[in-house]
Symmetry: C2
Amino acid sequence: MTAPDRRRRMSTITDVAREAGVSVATVSRALRGLDRVSPRTRERVFKVATELDYVASPTATSLASGRTQVVGVVAPFLTRWFFATLVSSIEKTLRQHGHHVLLFDLEDDTYDQRLPLSQNMLWKRVDGVITLNLPLTVQELELVDRLGLPLVAIGTPVADRPNVRIDEDLAMRTATEHLVSLGHERIAYIGTVPSNAAHIQTPQARLDAFRDVMRAHGLQEHPDWILESDWTADSAASDTRTLLASADRPTALAAASDEMAMGAMAAARAEGLRVPEDLSVIGVDDHVLSNVLGLTTVRQDVAAQGREAAEILLRALGVDTPGGSTSAVVVPTELIVRASTAPPPPST
Amino acid sequence: MTAPDRRRRMSTITDVAREAGVSVATVSRALRGLDRVSPRTRERVFKVATELDYVASPTATSLASGRTQVVGVVAPFLTRWFFATLVSSIEKTLRQHGHHVLLFDLEDDTYDQRLPLSQNMLWKRVDGVITLNLPLTVQELELVDRLGLPLVAIGTPVADRPNVRIDEDLAMRTATEHLVSLGHERIAYIGTVPSNAAHIQTPQARLDAFRDVMRAHGLQEHPDWILESDWTADSAASDTRTLLASADRPTALAAASDEMAMGAMAAARAEGLRVPEDLSVIGVDDHVLSNVLGLTTVRQDVAAQGREAAEILLRALGVDTPGGSTSAVVVPTELIVRASTAPPPPST
DNA sequence: CTGAAAGCGCTTACAG
DNA sequence: CTGAAAGCGCTTACAG
């Protein structure tokens, strides 16, 4: 299965030292740009290193220095748009600064649990970790502490560690206000999470914001119109079906994510309802497909969140990086009105 | 930014040896399950190791053994569903066998090029690599050879390395036949790739299959009805817009991916066409959202491809793994008829 | 500015 | 079955 063995012996720091006529210590200093190396020596070392295609063995460097130049990225899922987008932007940011990402997808086969973060995933393997919307257990946090790893959390906060996210409250408030401003009074919400889903953080803030806005406008909140979902489009379609089929149904639906909004739109159409004429739907995210589907949404810049988190972590690792924040950043959101929202149908 | 320093000195193999009253060599053998260790000794070593929370330093193990237990996964994009799904299933499969994934997203800011795979991404960092739909340049292949790394390619083949994929020809043949069987004669195709997109493999096989089926049924192929796209939904929407707006338009569209099919459906609706009454659309993939969008498609099991590739690689690394193939596997596809295809409108 | 040497924490022949 | 020792390829005080 392997091609003919063209494997070549890679050159080591010793080869470079011999060839350049200096000690390995000097090679090490020269190549890493430390001071106290004469310009002439440095130049010669670089030249030889290039000729020999020398690249320091990361494995040896790590053992000696205690640093691996890799950061662990931990996600509860990977296949959902939000997470994939984060991973992509984190990877790019880290790579620009000579760091790499070791990826951990903690999704398990069972719905109500996930894999735990363990010592052998992290120990001497990563210099730090970034969590993606992942509430850590006490044991996990203890582990990270014990290993002395800096951590930054995107979305769901982790203890007092630096956190990058959007203003959840504001996002859902914006979405709900938009529906209200169109004249809707009968508004449903989808996005509470079954309490047994240990690995999904209940976005309580979003639901609270929805309720606040309803209350502020003196609108009646209908208990049966607060829907639970596992946040996929497929499940949202079935989660909303019954509600949309009933005669006494809402004229608008606020979904806590675009994927759920898409599911709801599908369910509406399946019930013969037109969007937005019979039902307005709004989401949160601005998923890649939202534009093409004409979904009104509150946009969050996911790539920016990944970038910010990576930069904060790099700074904690002592890497010189643009940007100043070191503890918390809230990325702005923006209402994007498309074709899925409109005034309610004239009441009959 | 870091929490109070609860960092603890982690125990090393020397600690375990001392505590168990044996040499480090014996600890090493015992813990790795090598033979030539007496049951009693092994038991004692395990006990002590557990007590001390000992986990071998991967960094030291790697330096000594030359193996890192990590495999590099290289993708041209990460945010697209296909790639994220692959990465997720690869990660899970590898982890079950004690391996980890180091992720490389080669997408660049510019559209017409991508980042190259370099020595310092791979050298002493990974034991093998899996490429995701990524044609390797000669230099890159040479590099991988020189480093002696086993490689398995998903999708786009890489030289004579093991390859996991679907039967491209069959998939598009199935899609096209489905349209023809419904009575369509005026069929367009979207999915050729701009030749400057170095990092996307032109899926020539799919286009060829489309043409073959058209020809086999004596159907006229209209040159303007073969559309180029960068394979995103957004671009497909604009790529198809002009064609769908014209009076002389097709009654059906075969898209080489579901994301493009979604874009085309959106464009059709924007032009006031009904799907499937005025235009049938079929894709290839069975994207997570295809079900909810009612898209007819030819399903490919992406997770299975990731799993197969990971298992082939593990076997090449000498890891005992279920399954037998060691060189090539073709994962089956399946037509899934949903609501986006129907017989053509009665000709006027 | 440069070198000799210890050390990072394992694995792996080699003896016994 | 077990141990002593070399070796993996760097980095980092410590001298000079």
